[in-house]
């Protein structure tokens, strides 16, 4: 049976909502999508912001993947009347629909007591501010947080000639992305590029000591022209505070994206896709994925639900990637933190390697470094030969 709504309001012009719209049209959806986003630059590609954009001189281009003939209203959603499926906007009034799709993504976590002037990277405007600071002659930067964004920024800024220092409370770079694996390898990439690292240390204070910044860690003062906070993201759910939806860490949803009320019941006609949604896993816990690929699948799966057929989109193993320090890193599957990685392929002359963890079809996961061919074959369960 189909659940095809006639009028859908989507909050957030994201990669998840683009896929929802495109897949819906492919499946014969003839109704109306109303898309609202508070970011005047939306829609744009986020992955290049920490990489190509900072190296270049151009402006942030509109995303080429945004579905044709789908206008975006520039307004901020400030509330949701859940039982009326009505979104309240800061301007342009309110919008009622048969279905509301929440795709507001996540925003940068700010450090406690973070002084004004500390940079971060999430939006096109953030990236522009950072690039302007580098173009204005900054020669050094301290990056607080060595997740994928922090590590990519370290790579790009080092490439631009800045003296870069990375600080993280975690014991290694990209602790979460790698589930605690490949720490020594990733530190070595950074050090080879001249990046100074401090892992396992807390930031005690950040102060502007004109014209520089001072960041204190373990009694040691680090100095630089720029400080960039890259300590992670939290779901953009402030606007849902009075909605009666369960937003304890993201919008809590069933595995297929139906939003839940604080009572635990399904909120009729309210869905969440992408980074903002916390999906219920088989073990009953709710998990948020900050993943481009997962966001695409959420969008496609919801379109298939609307069209009334069983979606297999969400049965695919997670896929994530990062590019930094001349390395294209790809991860397939859920990396367990326990267990040892086994290196199954290496080509040192191009810094290439393929690692496996786990052994059965259900629990195997792969990490590829500069090895897209071997990685892809392996992740499809094919032999590495040829």
């Amino acid at each position: 049976m189909t659940h095809m709504p006639e009028r859908v309001v989507v909050i957030g012009a994201s990669v998840a909502s683009a896929m929802l719209i495109e897949r819906s049209r492919e499946l014969g959806f003839a109704g109306e999508f109303i898309v609202i986003d508070s970011d005047p630059n939306a829609p744009y590609d986020r992955p290049p912001l920490s990489k190509q954009f900072l190296l270049g001189t151009g402006s942030v281009e509109p995303a080429e993947w945004w579905p044709e003939a789908t206008p975006i209203l520039n307004a901020k959603a400030i509330g949701l009347l859940t039982d009326k499926r009505t979104v309240l906007l800061d301007r342009l009034g309110e919008v009622a629909a048969d279905a509301v799709v929440i795709a507001t993504g996540a925003g940068s976590i700010r450090l406690p007591n973070e002084p004004a002037g500390v940079l971060s990277l999430r939006t096109a405007q953030d990236a522009l501010s950072l690039r302007n600071a580098v173009d204005a002659g900054a020669t050094s930067a301290i990056i607080v947080g060595a997740g994928t964004i922090g590590a990519e920024l370290a790579s790009t800024l080092a490439q631009r000639g800045l003296a870069v220092t990375v600080v993280d409370l975690a014991p290694q770079p990209m602790q979460r992305f790698f589930s605690g694996h490949l720490g020594e390898e990733a530190k070595a990439w950074m050090h080879q590029a001249g990046v100074v690292t401090h892992f396992g240390v807390a930031v005690e204070s950040i102060q502007k000591t004109d014209p520089h910044w001072a960041v204190r860690i373990s009694g040691l003062d680090l100095h630089a022209d720029l400080v960039i906070s890259a300590v992670g993201a939290r779901p953009n759910t402030e606007w849902l505070t009075y909605s009666e939806l369960d937003v304890s860490n993201g919008v809590r949803c069933t595995a297929d994206g139906k939003s839940l009320l604080t009572t635990g019941e399904i909120a009729d006609g309210i869905f969440a896709i992408g980074d903002v949604s916390a999906r219920q896993a088989e073990d009953g816990t709710f998990r948020r994925f900050e993943s481009w690929t997962q966001a695409q699948r959420h969008g496609a799966a919801l379109a298939e639900y609307f069209a009334g057929f069983e979606s297999a989109e969400l049965e695919q193993a997670p896929y994530g990637w990062t590019e930094q320090f001349g390395r294209k890193v790809q991860v397939h599957g859920m990396l367990p933190s326990a267990g040892e990685l086994v290196q199954v392929y290496a080509a040192e002359e191009r810094n290439a390697a393929l690692y496996r963890i786990g052994s059965t079809e259900e629990d195997v996961a792969w990490i590829g470094v500069n090895a897209p061919r071997q990685f892809s074959r392996a992740s499809m369960g094919m032999s590495l030969l040829s």
Partner: protein
């Protein structure tokens, strides 16, 4: 459905298309993809649709062809 092609300006070498539909896509050593000659019209096949949807860069496109078979405007695959 139109003629399939991979936009080299968008492709970042994830090689997902080759993993999902090796009968239509081929990749070079760095993972950059192209459509195997003769397979430009396989856009309706389920594996190829899946590859299009799974491309993180949305780099797999289709050229609309009109009745005369001439290439018309380019549209995003959908």
């Amino acid at each position: 459905m139109g003629e399939l092609w991979v936009d080299g300006g968008r492709c970042q070498g994830h090689a997902r298309c080759w993993a999902l539909a090796p009968e239509t896509f081929e990749i070079d050593e760095e993972g950059y993809a192209h459509v195997i000659p003769g397979r430009e019209n396989s856009g309706d096949e389920p594996n190829v649709r899946k590859a299009i949807r799974n491309c993180p860069e949305r780099a797999i496109l289709e050229r609309e062809t009109n009745d005369a078979g001439e290439k018309a405007s380019e549209v995003s695959a959908s």
